[in-house]
Amino acid sequence: MTHPVFIIASYGITFIIVTVLSVEAALRLRRARTQLTVLEKNTSHSSNL
């Protein structure tokens, strides 16, 4: 294989950026879901009082 450093660098950088974007999106979604569940539970609890 010719120029392996350039090929590995291209695929490596792509893998890192895509992984960072995916993990960030998944964590953000999970955090928002958890926070919303807690808030809605608290809201319905306070409205029942």
Binding site: F6, S10, Y11, T14, L36
Partner: protein, 265 residues
């Protein structure tokens, strides 16, 4: 005219009304959230499948180019990211138009979430292009028309991201960013035709809609598969970010019920 055939103006009016209803129906953030939650796994797994097959084929089984050698394998990332950089910006401009004309809250959120993903695609396109350019041209960068216009696209994305966050009143931020997105559309045809209009170091397009592809089928198929995989991946990322943004809006609305709507959405 018989009663069964409506006049032309009536038909076009019905079409416009239906189109408007279609956009209004799917522009509802809650409805979009439910639909995207349902289709998200299919889009994500399809993206992983096509990207894995496309890049695996391109990296290990497609032949090296007679002139570029194995650096042609960078093409399987460079071309899909280049297409997504332009397509993402076109989507951003459409969101900008919806923001300015209809003030759709979903268009605002979509623009906010597309821009970082589009900026990453553009950055990847520039980085992989440089890594492909060094062994071929002897340099990582030249102020070539194609390269410079893509760099401008990257700055337009950064400007859009900054503008949305620059204003205390969110609506003003969305509007300013929408104007920038619409003004920046002029860069898209420049990127597309730069290799035809100017004598550039960058090679002309190998795949166009009007001509037969000029690359071998053994390279074309993995390229098509990786383009499909990257496009689906782009959609999956935007869907996930947009769903998170919709939930965050709901959280802000619950936390600050008396806050102005413009600062919540």
């Amino acid at each position: 005219m018989p009663d069964s055939i409506p006049p032309r103006s009536c038909t076009s009016h019905t079409m416009i009304t239906r189109t408007r209803h279609f956009f209004h129906y799917y522009a509802n953030p809650g409805r979009f959230y439910h639909i995207s939650t349902r289709i998200q796994p299919y889009v994500t797994y399809s993206a992983l499948f096509f990207t894995f097959i496309g890049l695996g084929w391109g990296l290990f089984f497609s032949p090296p180019d007679w002139q570029q050698g194995d650096t042609v394998r960078i093409m399987y990332i460079h071309v899909p990211t280049a297409i997504l950089a332009s397509a993402g910006y076109a989507a951003l401009a459409l969101c900008g138009l919806s923001t300015l004309v209809w003030q759709h809250p979903l268009a605002n959120l979509a623009a906010m979430e597309i821009a970082p993903v589009g900026a990453c695609a553009t950055a990847l396109c520039l980085i992989t292009g440089s890594l492909r350019g060094k062994p071929m041209w002897g340099t990582y960068w030249v102020w070539d028309a194609r390269l410079t216009s893509v760099l401008i696209l990257f700055f337009l994305y950064l400007g859009h991201i900054s503008l949305i966050r620059a204003f205390e009143d969110k609506q003003r931020g969305y509007q300013a960013a929408a104007i920038l997105a619409l003004a920046g559309v002029i860069d898209l045809p420049i990127i597309k035709f730069s290799v035809d209009w100017w004598n550039t170091l960058h090679q002309p397009d190998s795949i166009t809609l009007t001509r037969a592809p000029t690359i071998s089928r053994s390279m074309l198929w993995p390229l098509i598969l990786s383009m499909l995989g990257f496009s689906l991946g782009f959609c999956a990322l935007v869907f996930a970010r947009l769903r998170a943004a919709i939930l965050e809006v709901r959280i802000r609305a619950l936390l600050f019920p008396s806050h102005r709507r413009s600062n919540i959405v």
